[in-house]
Structures are given as C-alpha cells and as structure tokens.
C-alpha cells in the first residue's frame, strides 16, 4: 500500500489540476507546444503609445480582451482563465463549489491612469485639478464601481465568488516570488490538515504605462526593443534586463489521500518549499548569495532530499545582469561542480517575466517538464556569459529523464522562494 504521508509524517501534497495563460497563448497545450519550440511571446506594445519610452516591448496578453481595460481587470480575467482550466482538469468539486481555500498571488492593486483621467474630466477644464478637486467629484456613487475594483482584495473576492472557494481568500504579494508563495501557502494548509484541497492562483496583467516606467526608472528592463522576440537573454553575456509580461498560472493542490480517494489523476507532487528573506537591499541580493543559498537549501530540506536528486532547475532567470549572476552563485554554492552539468533553463526567455504570476506559471511548466520528460530551452542564448557556466539548454528543447525539478523565484524586497516538484512522492 502506498503511504499518503511524506518522510516527515506530513500529508503528501499533489497537483491534480493546472492552468496557464502567457504571452504564448492560453492553456497548457498551446503553451507547451510553443515553449518547447522555442517561440517567444514578446512583442512590440500596441496597447498604449510608447513614445518616449526606453522599452517598447513586453509579453502582453492581448488575445483575451478586457473592456474597459485596467490592469486589475486583466489580472482577474487571466486568473479566471487559468483557474477554470485547472479546476476542469482536476474534476474537483462542482460548478461554483471548490472544496478548499483560495491563495492568490496578485500585483498590488491601485487606481490607474484611465480612472484618474476620468476624474480629471469630471472636474472640467475650468478649475485647477488637484486631489482636493478629485475628492470633490469622487463621491455620490458616480464612481462606486471603482471602489469595488481597486480594493486590494477585489481580485480574490471575485475569484472566490466565481469558483466558490471556502473561507477567507488570501491575496498575497512577495513581489516576483508571489506565485511560488501562493503555492507554498496551499501546501502548508494541506500539510496542517486544515484543507484537503487548495486553489492556488497567481496572476499579473500589469503592462500599463506607469508600471513599465517604474521598472524602467529602476533600470531593470531590457531595451533590446528590436526585434522584441530577442529581448530576453537570460544567462547571456549581452543580457540587459527583464521584459515585463502578463499571464497567470493556477494549480489545484490536494492531499495525496484525498486525491486518490476520489480517483483523481495525479500530475505531480509539491515535495518541498523553501523561503528566506534578504536584508541587504531593496532591489539587490546580498553579494555573498547567502539568502538565495539558504532558500534553496530550505527547499531541499523541506522536501527531505539532497541536491544530487534534482535533475533540472527551472531558473528564475530574468535576464537582468544582477539576477542571473546571483542565481548562478546561489546554485553553484549548493550544487557544487554539478551546477555546470545540471540543465538550468529560463522560461522567461520566451514568455517574459510574468512578475506576480511567474512562480506559478513556472511551476506549471516544471510539472509539464516532468510529464513530458522534455526540458524547455533558454532561447536567445547566442553569447554565453563565461561567468555563468550553466548548461542552459540553449535555444532547443531537450528530451531528458527528469524526476525532480527545482523552481526558483526571487523578488524585490529581499523575497526568495524555491519549490521542489517531483513525479512521484519522495
């Protein structure tokens, strides 16, 4: 008889449903096909004027229309699409009745420029526009929909209602590690025995002018605008930044016991989660790499495995000079000489950096890697960085035996999170 608990006596947490949307397309099938074909979803931005911007491309999701557009509405819609796919695959619960809590990774919500400009128009050209004037026209119920829309909890509120998740839904942000954190919260809830199932969703539809400019002002973005599909160059010597992108990933997590009891197909195991915060700087990693090293080690020890058992690393791999260097330092410190042999690829070379969604999007891709025994490439890898001697699975997907994957996510504010995903319980 198979045990339903891991070597630490905790319920084993399995994945029974997955959904994904990225700039490559909607759904696992389309994404996997393009991802393993080495296609890029990065394109020149057409959503808004890019005059005067240093970066004019992004991995936008324009094929899922949202009217009127706001980043929060798009985030919500992308989260819905991914969650629908995941729940349908899991075949769990019934319509509008998901039997567990929602953990949602979502970008911080805020009133956006179109709404601010609407207030400006409501004030009219005859009087000075300032926040006092904006306050004067904001009340009376005329804009009540914007209160509902721009509460931080609004996306989780709507997804909880649509899918009928149970209890208080949690909206979380650990910056670019948010997607991994959402999965970690689900894993922990199931391990505690609080829930038999959890819906973990991570979504981001942030490509709007101010968000792009904010990253641009921090010199974080690539300016390789032409051709856009060659912009993201993780681990290459000529990498120059990340590329903003949109997307969502969703996973239905269940205890092994609950999943097998209802005869669900098990797609993979979340064997371990690790985290560790960095106190060095708001946007930079500690130069000694200790927080990343500690995070990776925490994930391995949480899974009860050693680094030799990892066959593939799904890198954070943003393509910023800083991240990729620090990721190599962290991985090579833990994996030693094996760091040069183990395949390490960056999905972001193709889909861009889906920010709050990235950890979950890449967890889905890691699980698809396990399912198909095929490693997606790092594209745009033409000029290797000799300081980063990873096997980055350059430019072409590769068939390989993969039983355990490590997926890393790092973010502003000293956020580090790593997941260990396996085919079978370890």
């Amino acid at each position: 008889m198979t045990t339903t608990r891991d070597k630490f006596g905790r319920p084993i947490v399995v994945v029974t449903g997955m959904g994904v949307v990225t700039s490559l397309g909607s759904g696992k099938a389309d994404n996997w096909k393009k991802l393993t074909a080495g296609e890029s979803g990065i394109r020149t931005i057409t959503r808004f004027p890019t005059d005067g911007l240093k970066t004019t491309m992004a991995g936008t999701v324009d094929f899922i229309p949202v009217e009127p557009f706001s980043s929060t509405d798009l985030s919500e819609r992308l989260g819905e699409v991914a969650a629908e796919e995941a729940i349908a695959q899991a075949g769990i619960g019934s319509k509008n009745d998901f039997p567990g809590p929602l953990f949602l990774a979502v970008a911080p919500v805020e009133v956006e420029w179109p709404q601010r400009q609407e207030l400006g128009r409501a004030i009219g050209a005859s009087s000075e526009v300032d926040y006092d004037a904006m306050l004067r026209v904001s009340g009376g119920g005329r804009f009540s929909q914007y209160h509902r829309r721009f509460l931080f909890g609004s996306v989780a509120d709507h997804l909880a209602e649509k899918f009928g998740t149970k209890g208080s839904p949690i909206s979380l942000s650990t910056a670019c590690a948010s997607g991994a954190s959402a999965i970690q919260l689900g894993v922990e809830a199931i391990r505690r025995g609080e829930a038999d199932a959890a819906l973990c969703v991570a979504t981001d539809g942030s490509v709007n002018p101010e968000a792009l400019i904010r990253f641009s002002l921090l010199s974080a973005l690539s300016t390789h605008n032409d051709p856009p599909e060659a912009a993201v160059r993780p681990f290459s010597k000529n990498r120059d930044g990340f590329v903003m992108a949109e997307g969502a990933g969703a996973l239905v997590l269940e205890s092994y016991e609950a999943a097998t009891a209802r005869g669900a197909k098990i797609l993979g195991i979340i064997a371990g989660c690790g985290e560790l915060a960095d106190s060095f700087h708001r946007t930079r990693s500690s130069p000694d790499g200790k927080p990343i090293i500690g995070c990776v080690r925490n994930a391995l020890s949480d899974a009860g495995i050693v680094s030799d058992q990892i066959d593939y690393i799904n890198a954070h791999g943003t393509g910023t000079p800083e991240n990729d260097k620090m990721e190599y330092l962290g991985i090579s410190s833990v994996f030693g000489e094996r760091a040069k042999q183990i395949p390490v690829s960056s999905n972001k070379s193709m889909v861009g950096h889906t920010l709050s969604a990235a950890g979950a999007v890449e967890a889905v891709f890691s699980l698809l890697t396990l399912e198909h025994q095929r490693i997606p490439p790092t594209i745009n890898y033409d000029i290797p960085d000799p300081a980063i001697p990873f096997d980055v699975v350059p430019n072409k997907a590769r068939d390989a035996r993969v039983t355990a994957v490590m997926s890393n996510s790092f973010g502003f504010g000293g956020q580090n999170a790593s997941l260990i995903l396996t085919r079978e319980p370890v």
Binding site: P49, P108, L135, G139, H147, G167, E194, E210, I213, R214
Partner: protein
C-alpha cells in the same frame, strides 16, 4: 461559505510576547494605556475637511530606523510600520538578536500605493489644458516620477524594509486585501506555529491615514466620515470611517520557545477564525459573526470584546445587532479612538487585547451612546472582532495565561 477551519485546533500553545504600537495617540504601551484611559482622541477635522482623519503622532524615527537613507527610501506608511515593528521586537526582548531574527517568520498586512500628489495633479492639469499628445503621459512620468517612489509604493516593501532595518529574515510574506489581510496574517502565523511549521513570528501592519489618494478610493464608495467627528456607535445617521494612522505589530511564539528564552508573555493568542460573507442579503455579516463566535473558543460569560467596527454601513449596524445578543461582554471599539487603520485594525485590536490582559484591566469605554460600559473585573478572555467595511469577517480569542 463555510468559515476557515480553526487555526489552532488544540495544537501548540502560542503566546503574544511583544507588542509595538505607534499611532495617532503616540508610541509605546504606557502612552497608549494612559491615553485610552483618559479617553483621548487625536482627530483632525480641518486639514482634510470635510473629511476627518486621525493624524500620526510625531515620533523620532531615528530611534528605530537609524539610517536616514533608509527613511528616505520609504513613504510614511512604511516608516510608521517599520518603526512599530521595531517597538514590537524591543518589547519581546529580541531586538538585535540575530540568531532569532534570522529564523523569525514575518507576515505583514499591507496596503501600499502612496502617490506623489503633485506629479499626478500636474499631469491631469496639463491634460485638462488640452495636452493630450500620444506619449505625453509617458514623458511626464519618465521625467517626474522619483525612481525610488515605486519601492515606497510596493506592498511587500514594508516587510522588505523591516528585513533591512531590523533583520527579520526567516520569511517575509505580505498579505493584501484591506481588513481581512490583518486577520489572515494573524490566522496563518498562528496556524503555522500551532502546527510546528514555525516557532516565532512578527505580524502586523501600518497605515498613513493622512493621504488624499486613499481618501479618493474610499470616497468612490462614500465610506469617508465627513463633517463632524462622532464615535463609531453614533454614526447611523452619518456613516463612514475616519482614516486612522498607525502601526501595530506583535511578536507571537510557541510557549516552549518563549519559555526557553525566558520571555514574558502579555497574553495567549488562542485562536483566529475568518470568513468572507458575500453580503448580498441583509443579515449575512451578523450571521457570519455568530458562526465565527461559535468557533473561536469556549467563552465564559464575563469577557470583553475589542472590535474594529468601522462605522461603515451596513456592516457596523449588523455588528451592533450581533453584539446586542451577547450583552455579558464589555465592548470597546478601536475605530472611535484610532479611526480606521484598515489592514492594521485587527492587529491593533490584538495588541490592545493583549495589553489589557497584561494590565489586568480593560481600558476605559469611550462612547456616549452607552454601548460601551465599564468593566470592573480583570479580563481573562477578550474576543477581537474585525468586520471589514466591504468584505471579510474575522475573530480572535486572546486569553490570560493562568
């Protein structure tokens, strides 16, 4: 919706061993205790008129955030929170204790998004004067936004700043979602410790209520208290909340961890439960509170309630109806004294509950309506309630350690 399962189903006992408060009433536990018992309220009816806010009482930020460079990288909400977090660590006796801080977990309930009002206003003014060329917005934002403003806006950067300034690095999680974020921060941190997933955690939040951009968001929904200040229980005719300013942080840890390091507890955090009613029918908030009440723990009849009731309707009237069915409990509404600190209101309630238990007295009522009454006996059980102005209901049980 069924409520989330109890966050401490008979697991490890969890103590509150540190409290950090910096609010409109001042900083530190003694200052808060005195102000509460003197029924002091710090409210500003003029500077944001007709809106009312509770301004942050000035502190010397240098004492908790020694580097000016760090202070400059933050907006007010982050400075307030980082300051209060430092007070909590100090109160728990672990400030600067690298061994503990390096493995200490952190869950922060955060808003964010503090705007540069001048930049926004200038852009909108230019647009009103017909400046609508494609790329105008881009050009202005590229030139006018301070590059570091983004970091002062990001929700998770309060936790990030606490890590940088105080060295809390075991983990760093930020929950968003208004009032419920504060409830869930406590709920999840408690559940993790109770289940042995964590030994010690810093939880809390902060808000700067002196923000016109925040007033705009709540004005969309007609939630701001306007005109003349009234206590929370007397706002039926003129409902709404006055935004509050403050940071409230707590250190919670397993009893074994606290005892091993010789830490003195303020109180026990026995349980936190939460739910989210859809609020489509009248009475859903009241029914949800009743259900949470039945789950929060075994309650004696002479306890107290500290509620974060906002003054927003219909939630506050429903909560009042719920309270009416539990007349044995002395009630205090933090909203009257502190205003509405949103994500921070529930941690604030936890802090005041633990403080009251540690002082052997419930602080004075501050309510001419008569709903709040004196409590003459030392409280041994205090239920903390948080019903969000729009969504989210939560409840905690804070108890004396016998």
């Amino acid at each position: 919706m069924t409520e989330t399962k109890s966050s401490n189903p008979g697991g490890v006992e969890v103590w509150i061993t540190g409290i950090g408060l910096a609010t409109s009433l001042g900083e530190g536990l003694d200052a808060h205790w005195d102000a509460l018992n003197q029924r002091r309220i710090n409210v500003d009816e003029k500077n944001f008129a007709p809106y009312i806010v509770h301004p942050f009482a000035p502190v010397n930020f240098d004492t908790q955030i020694p580097k000016k460079g760090d202070q400059r990288q933050m907006e007010a909400w982050q400075r307030i929170g980082t300051y209060a977090a430092g007070l909590a660590l100090e109160s728990a006796g672990i400030k600067g204790n690298k061994e503990i801080l390096a493995r200490m977990d952190m869950i922060v309930a955060a808003g964010g998004g503090e705007r540069d009002l001048a930049v926004d206003s200038n852009i909108l003014n230019s647009e009103a004067k017909g400046n609508s060329a494609p790329g105008f917005l881009n050009e202005r934002l590229m030139n006018d936004l301070r590059p570091t403003l983004f970091l002062a806006q990001l929700s998770n950067l309060l936790a990030g700043n606490i890590a940088i300034v105080h060295g809390v690095t075991g983990s760093s999680r930020t929950f968003m979602g208004e009032e419920a974020a504060g409830v869930d921060a406590a709920r999840i941190a408690l559940a993790r410790i109770a289940a042995g997933q964590s030994d010690i955690a810093l939880i809390g939040g902060s808000q700067n209520g002196e923000r016109k951009d925040l007033l705009v968001l709540y004005e969309f929904g007609n939630f701001n208290l306007t005109g003349k200040f009234t206590p929370v229980w007397m706002r039926a005719e003129n409902s709404g909340f006055a935004l509050g300013s403050g940071g409230a942080f707590l250190v919670i840890e397993s009893r074994a961890h606290a005892e091993a390091r010789g830490a003195k507890p303020y109180a026990r955090l026995t349980n936190v439960v939460a739910d989210m009613a859809r609020r489509k029918q009248p009475g859903e908030v009241k029914a949800t509170l009743e259900r949470l009440w039945s789950k929060v723990g075994k309650l004696e009849n002479d306890g107290a309630i500290i509620t974060g009731a906002t003054g927003a309707e219909p939630a506050t009237s429903e909560e009042q109806a719920f309270l009416g069915e539990h007349p044995g409990f002395a009630v205090r509404a933090t909203g009257t004294t502190f205003g509405h600190t949103m994500e921070t209101q529930f941690p604030l309630g936890l802090a005041l509950a633990a403080l009251s238990i540690s002082r052997g007295k419930l602080f004075s009522p501050n309510d001419p309506s008569g709903l709040e009454v004196e409590m003459s006996t030392p409280p041994t059980q205090i239920v903390v309630i948080g019903a969000g102005h729009w969504r989210g209901e939560g409840m905690a049980l804070v108890e004396a350690i016998k």
